[in-house]
């Protein structure tokens, strides 16, 4: 691995911010570090940048050991959450600042700065001070500045969280474009799961100082390893069930409160070591749950098997609907009194005519669900 972190631990007094984490990044890869605030992702970044010293563990970048090196000797660039542009310097001076400390220089400072300004699209603003720039422009300066010294690794600490939603989407594509164009190795810290999934080659989900799961975005989304990952990626629809037995096609699980008393879940849907009699949570992504039109005949009886595994049918009480353009969200009280949120493509809305307070019959395929060991009160 180009960047390797082995068993990093960082404590602040009583709290352990980073608790024995290990991961690696390949050269030219964009990896995001995703987690809720306080999960240790920013501390991990600060350990890599050299702003904090790790209590335990090693960091290697391209074979060089980073531990103990001061920030200026690491070859690690940082883009800060609030950009941290030097307010007393112009755009040009900000970007050129890191070039003062170069050892070798095959290209002139001016050449490099000019090229970076072109890459991030700031032509004409060279002589402005940061205070005279919009937030989006400041962000571009921050990126250009961090690239100027040619860092071996670039760290971005929630670089878009200070911007409004529209700008955020645009700039994350910009970051991706620049990263691909220059072949940058980039670690991207964020708490926004959509942003992480959209931008990353791979993502690392952190919680309470530990890594919950690493993998490509589709993998993490569709096969979350822990209930926390599932919940953090927005999969909040849960059913409590009891394991009955293992049969030839998978685990047979009893689902109270549904119209499908028991269903078979294929092994790939199971993220726990199951035993008969065990309580489990079945988590279903909102877009994989299909509501039926009022009064229409179901397309397949309860318990029927299909290419997607067995179909589970359940009923919920519709609480609220939200029409969001390309799709609509239905909020309902599902079986066992749990809140369910399901997504319906916009085109299906005309025939979906349930009213608030009415019962809605839904179905999902066991293939699309994930089974975890039940844990109470948790996420």
């Amino acid at each position: 691995m180009y960047l390797e972190c082995n068993g990093l631990v960082k404590r602040f007094g009583e709290t352990t911010a980073v608790d024995n984490i290990s991961f690696g990044i390949e050269r030219g890869e964009l990896v995001s570090l995703l987690g809720p605030s306080g999960c240790g992702k920013t501390t991990t970044l600060r350990l890599l940048a050299g702003f904090e010293a790790a209590d335990v563990g090693d960091m290697y970048l391209d074979g060089r050991r980073l531990n103990g090196l001061p920030p200026e000797k690491r070859g690690v660039g940082v883009v800060f959450q609030h950009f941290a542009l030097f307010p007393h310097m112009t755009v040009w001076q900000n970007i050129a600042y890191g070039l003062r400390f170069r050892r070798r220089s095959d290209r002139s400072d001016g050449e490099i700065v000019r090229e970076l300004i072109r890459i991030v699209g700031l032509e004409g603003l060279e002589q402005r001070k940061p205070g005279q720039l919009s937030a989006g422009q400041q962000q571009r300066v921050a990126i250009a500045r961090s690239l100027a010294p040619g860092p071996d690794l670039l760290l971005l600490d929630e670089p878009l969280s200070a911007l409004d939603a529209r700008l955020r989407q645009h700039l994350r594509m910009e970051i991706r474009r620049i990263q691909r164009m220059l072949g940058l190795t980039l670690l991207y810290v964020t708490h926004d799961q959509e942003e992480a999934m959209a931008i990353s080659d791979r993502m690392i989900v952190m919680n309470a100082g530990r890594i919950e799961q690493m993998g490509e975005p589709w993998q993490v989304y569709h096969r979350p390893k822990t209930p926390f990952v599932a919940a953090f990626l927005g999969q909040t629809n849960r059913l409590r069930g009891t394991v009955e037995r293992l049969d030839g096609t998978g685990w047979v699980i009893a689902l109270e409160g549904t119209d499908t008393p028991r269903a078979v879940f294929p092994a790939k849907a199971v993220q726990a070591a199951l035993k008969p009699g065990m309580a489990v949570d079945v988590v279903v992504p909102g877009e994989r749950v299909m509501p039926e039109a009022q009064g229409s005949e179901g397309q397949g009886a309860a318990g029927a098997s299909s290419a997607h595994g067995q179909t589970v049918v359940l009923a919920g009480l519709l609480q609220e609907t939200e029409f969001l353009g390309s799709y609509a969200r239905l909020y309902m009280t599902g079986p066992q009194g749990r809140p369910w949120t399901i997504r319906v493509p916009s085109l299906q809305m005309p025939w979906f005519n349930a009213r608030i307070g009415q019962s809605v019959v839904c179905r999902f395929a066991t293939d699309d669900a994930v089974v975890f060991e039940a844990h109470d009160g948790g996420a």
């Binding site: 920030p71 959450q81 007393h88």
Partner: protein, 581 residues
């Protein structure tokens, strides 16, 4: 530089040159040579009826002074907050003048203005054929204290008034309250904190005031502060001086503590303040006429004494032709028996001391400000309080301690010049720290980290990023230290010796000898220097506050969602607000 050194050096400085000297005085106050507490100077003093008279008078004059300051300051706050008139900004800035006007020059102005031959009595004589005796009385002391502290009260109340959202008053009106009810139930309670803290500050300043009581009290009136000086420097009764200094320090610390308690208790955060609607002052209405008359009287009260000094310095008082004779005596290299020095040398001394004070306090203040803001360590708040303590301790008591340690004690080998520079540095330190501390606290930590990650070493990051951003504040702090040293008289009078005069001391000695012409000339020179410092400070402070606001404004636009993560930014207090107002 390591964090320990950043905090350690300034702490050592304060321990050696503030806490240790003060401790010496306390030891002396308790010394009984084995004869028990009853034999200690402290007990002797406490059982002396004279002391209790002294304490009573000190408290009483402070109380009267506070009442006078409130009476004089409240209307000013009201007018500034609710009216609109030309030169309003100027009047508002002028409320800061007392902070930089050396009090001995004001005492001189009072003597000249209120004296039997002064302009006030001349006008009274012309109008009513009568003269009044104001000088060398309680009235003179109270008036002079009001001169200084009315602006303190006015600023405190004005600040609360300005922060008061008119929507609060309007919503009370819409809920059915009448004008008077609104004032009683909404306006007054919201102004009350400012009034209380302002009054308490006025009381503290009057309680600890030195040059004014010394110059205007005459032989009959003395306060604790003045009595310490008299016992030590005139009667050479060190034990009694030490006992009084201890008591005075205890009082000043106690009062400051109460002030801090009240200030914290009352701090109200009122979000989203709309600007107050202001009515034009120059429009005919009974209230407006009263306000204008009040402002005119206030102008006479403030400009009268100051202008008297200017006029006197050019011989305008005797009715003779204007001349610069007084300035000639000041700038001639003529030895004056009165001050044991040439006046020119006194000017030189003052400037040297002031420069020395800047050179000592600025690096130490910067170090501590950075040390305190960079790391959260145990005892940080305590250390900060320790560093601010010189604000709250009687300068005379502290000066006495310095006298003891530099004449006979630990630092006996050092010159009195060194002692004065160090004393001024200690006294200026809290001001410097209060200017620099929020500055470095507000400096975004990630700016420094950004420079580091771009390849700058710790020192380079400091010089390239932190220092340029702090430059304005450093200049403000430097001017603060400079003006404080130039105007300071209490510690200087305790440490001065023949041949080692400062400008305020020269003014005092000349006016005591009733050599008013020369005293005025020297006072004018002093006022010009502090005046220049004040103007620069005012301009600079304004620009600095504006820039801080601009920096925060850009930060706000850039950081909406995530500002809570950073713990929110402090409100940008202008650097003048070192008095906690």
């Amino acid at each position: 530089m390591s964090g320990a050194l950043l905090v350690g050096l300034p702490t050592l400085f304060l321990l050696l040159f503030f806490y240790y000297p003060l401790g010496q005085v306390f030891v002396e106050a308790f010394r009984s040579d084995g004869a028990g507490f009853q034999a200690s100077p402290l007990w002797q003093t406490l059982s002396d009826a004279y002391f209790w008279d002294l304490l009573q008078f000190t408290a009483l004059q402070a109380l009267y002074s506070t009442l006078a300051s409130v009476a004089l300051g409240l209307p000013l706050a009201f007018i500034l907050a609710n009216y609109r008139f030309p030169l309003q900004g100027l009047v508002r800035s002028l409320t800061l003048v007392p902070f930089v006007l050396p009090s001995v020059t004001v005492a001189l102005g009072f003597i000249l203005f209120y004296g039997r031959q002064g302009p006030l009595n001349q006008v009274l004589d012309m109008l009513f054929g009568q003269r009044v005796q104001v000088l060398y009385s309680l009235t003179a002391i109270v008036l002079a204290h009001a001169f200084y502290n009315a602006p303190v009260v006015a600023r405190a109340v004005y600040a609360s008034w300005e922060r008061l959202d008119p929507s609060c008053e309007e919503s009370a009106r819409s809920l059915g309250a009448g004008r008077w009810a609104v004032f009683r139930h909404v306006t007054l309670p919201l102004l009350f904190p400012g009034l209380v803290t302002g009054s308490l500050l006025a009381f503290i300043f009057s309680f600890m005031s030195f040059p004014i009581v010394l110059s205007l009290g005459g032989a009959r009136f003395s306060t604790l502060e003045v009595e310490v000086y008299t016992q030590v420097r005139v009667l050479l009764n060190y034990p009694m001086g030490a006992a009084l200094a201890l008591i005075q320090t205890a009082f000043s610390l106690l009062l400051s503590y109460v002030y801090l308690l009240i200030e914290q208790r009352f701090t109200l955060e009122i979000p989203g303040v709309r600007e107050r609607p202001r009515t034009p002052l120059f429009r005919f209405a009974p209230g407006n006429v009263a306000a204008v008359v009040y402002l005119l009287l206030l102008a006479v009260f403030y400009f009268g004494p100051v202008i008297s000094v200017w006029l006197d310095s050019v011989g305008g008082r005797g009715g003779g032709p204007w001349n610069f004779a007084a300035y000639h005596t000041i700038f001639a290299r003529e030895h004056s028996a009165l001050i044991g020095d040439t006046p020119l040398e006194a000017i030189g001394n003052s400037l040297r001391f002031a420069l020395g004070t800047v050179l000592v306090t600025l690096p130490l203040g910067t170090a501590l400000a950075i040390g305190l803001s960079r790391r959260r360590f145990w005892g940080r708040r305590f250390l900060e309080t320790l560093a601010l303590a010189p604000l709250a301790v009687s300068s005379i008591a502290f000066g006495f301690g310095m006298l003891r340690t530099f004449r006979t004690g630990l630092f006996a080998g050092f010159s009195s010049e060194t002692a004065i520079v160090l004393a001024h540095s200690v006294l200026a330190f809290p001001f410097v720290l209060r200017v620099l501390r929020p500055l470095f606290e507000r400096l975004d930590r990630s700016l420094r980290e950004a420079a580091r990650s771009l390849g700058a070493s710790g020192w380079r990051a400091f010089f390239d990023v932190e220092l340029p951003l702090a430059a304005g504040g450093l200049l403000v702090a430097a001017i603060f230290a400079f003006s404080l040293s130039i105007a300071e008289m209490s510690a200087a009078i305790m440490l001065a010796e023949p041949g080692l005069m400062t400008m305020p001391l020269t003014v005092y000695h000349l006016l005591s000898a009733r050599n008013f012409g020369s005293a005025s000339a020297m006072a004018v020179v002093l006022m010009v220097i502090t005046g220049i410092a004040f103007v620069v400070l005012e301009r600079l402070g304004e620009r600095l506050a504006k820039r801080t606001r601009a920096m925060q404004a850009s930060d706000d636009s850039a950081a909406t969602a995530a500002s809570d993560a950073a713990g929110g930014s402090e409100k940008g207090a202008p650097p003048f607000d070192v008095f906690g107002m």
